[in-house]
Amino acid sequence: MVKIENVEKRYGKFTALYPLTMDIKRGSHLLILGPNGAGKTTLIKSMMGILNFKGRIEINGIDVNKDPRGAKRNIGYVPQNYAFYEGLTIYDHSVLSTRLKNLGTEQIEEKLKLVNLWEARKRRVRACSDGMKQRLGIALAMIGNPKLLLLDEPTSNIDLRGQLEFQKLLRSLLAAGKTMITTSHLTGLGELASEVMVIDHGRVITRGPPEELLTRLAVNDTIYVRVKGADAESVSNLLKSQGAVDFDLQGEWLRAAVPSTTKLGVLKNLLNSSFDITDLLVERSEIESEYVKLLAAGGAPGSNK
């Protein structure tokens, strides 16, 4: 769906994006992680042809530089900072988008209903909340049914409820076969991604499926065991013998970090033991929190540096 060949972006002597080559498959979801200024938005804007760049980007087989209009027909873009004409109503903005996409207005109702904005269509954009603007951005991006969605920090301006709604929407779009590229500096989108790329200072640090990346990073999951006080030390010893670290006992709850690769074995042994375990919780490590550790370490196994 997306073919990137030696794409590089410089501002004078400063390199915002070092030469990058990659393919993104149809129907996949690439999550690009990295701190602010890492080069995530530069890559997205290059794909849109908004920034001039060296190299070649093809969207659905169309060269962005040679036929920007054709390439952009395949893309729905939700920018990092939603910029709208504040004086327009939601509906008028949608009409403008349909015109820009060389389409009629038939799709507007469907798309605004999809993001629950149809009832508020007569409201001016300046009177909308950040969450509504974010949903409007998604609706406008969806007009024309693009095959590829580029979502730049899509959850940066919305509250928890909005984030959950957004994740639900993303799931439905993925189920509908859309290809998605999402950038984030810290969100809960990792579990929806088929591939994760970590980028910093314009360079790709690591890339791969989230599970593989977590394994490669030797990530620990956290388990919470509710156990009678007298057994806590024995349980700790059992877990320790199986590679668990970072113990903490609070009341009846014993917390420990267990390597995600051996987690299942540890849990089986625990449940088969004679200890009086009354409850058990497992907290899966998220790729987003692990990438922070990765950046702090200055690289990763399998790095593309």
Binding site: G49, I50, L51, K72, Y82, A83, S97, L100
Partner: protein, 311 residues
């Protein structure tokens, strides 16, 4: 008047080269793209730009100012009493030209100089260009939208006054239409310059300041009549002619002088220089010069925009 130091043919050659450059830039920009053009997209940008621009208080104020300048209130009193002197129209129009032409750049310069930088600052340029619209289509839609809005102000101001005052005979409308046409051309030149200012500016406030400064230099600070005499005495008439034609405000004003004798009472040193060098073809060459101004400023604006990052 000093004799010509430069062969006029050199001047004509420069004009021809500039014409070829401007026209070929536009032709290359459009090459092979006319058929696949996103006409609805261009219309969307054009109509939106027009609607937003025409609503601004600045443009409404200018429509009112142009109306007041053109309506000439004392004549209104006389007209209402049926006492207008037979020769009132040429003198009214001559004074209208000399007063209104230096003000015309104030219409497109502030509006045009903020148009692109404002979109860039607010992020809406990114929104527009994330749709299947090319930079050329955006530039085209934006330029024409602004051109129509600013030209409408001139037409409403002057035309409204004409409809009220010059109602005695139809022939009276011809000169005012010519004035509107030449004022519209000056407006187009200034809009082209304003768009270039906007492209190079990092901030809206800077762009606005530079726009006003350009107007100040062209219309207020530069004493073209004195400059033309100095250049003419020192270098000859052809360089002096170049000085005149390099000032779009004066060139446009001269069009009204040569184009219909409207500003005959306003003949200045610059008009004399033009007549001395170009003789019977003064109007044609000044017209070409103003058309070149329009073509070159928009061609340069387009080329700059195309090679810039949009965000």
């Amino acid at each position: 008047m000093a004799s010509s130091a430069v062969d006029p043919n050199i001047f004509y050659a420069i004009v021809a080269i500039a014409a070829v450059f401007g026209i070929s830039t536009i032709a290359l920009g459009m090459r092979g793209r006319l058929r696949s053009m996103n006409v609805r997209g261009i219309w969307g940008i054009l109509s939106f730009t027009f609607r937003e621009a025409i609503r601004t208080k600045w443009l409404l104020l200018f429509a009112f100012i142009f109306f007041l300048l053109a309506v000439d209130i004392p004549d209104l009193y006389l007209a209402s009493a049926g006492n207008l002197p037979p020769e009132y129209l040429p003198s009214t129009l001559a004074s209208l030209i000399s007063v209104s032409f230096p003000l015309i750049p104030l219409l497109p310069l502030p509006v045009g100089s903020v148009s692109i930088v404002d979109e860039r600052e607010s992020g809406t340029l990114q929104y527009l260009l994330s749709n299947p619209v090319t930079k050329a289509e955006f530039f085209f839609g934006r330029s024409i939208g602004l051109l129509l809005a600013t030209t409408a102000v001139i037409v409403i101001g002057f035309g409204g006054a004409a409809a009220i005052v010059y109602t005695q005979h139809l022939a009276a409308y011809a000169p005012i239409i010519l004035i509107m046409l030449f004022a519209g051309m000056l407006n187009a030149v200034m809009l082209g310059i304003a768009l270039i200012i906007s492209e190079f500016s990092k901030r809206k406030a800077t762009a606005m300041g530079v726009g006003i400064m350009v107007w100040f230099i062209l219309a207020v600070v530069s004493s073209l009549d004195q400059l033309v005499i100095s250049v003419s005495l020192k270098l000859g008439a052809v360089p002096a002619l170049a000085v005149v034609l390099l000032d779009p405000v004066e060139s446009s004003r001269l069009l009204t002088v040569f184009g219909g004798g409207l500003g005959a009472s306003q003949v200045t040193n610059s008009a004399l220089v033009v007549q001395h060098v170009l003789r019977g073809n003064s109007f044609e060459y000044v017209l070409i010069s103003v058309i070149l101004w329009v073509t070159l400023t928009f061609a340069a604006g387009f080329l700059i925009f195309r090679h810039q990052d949009a965000a």
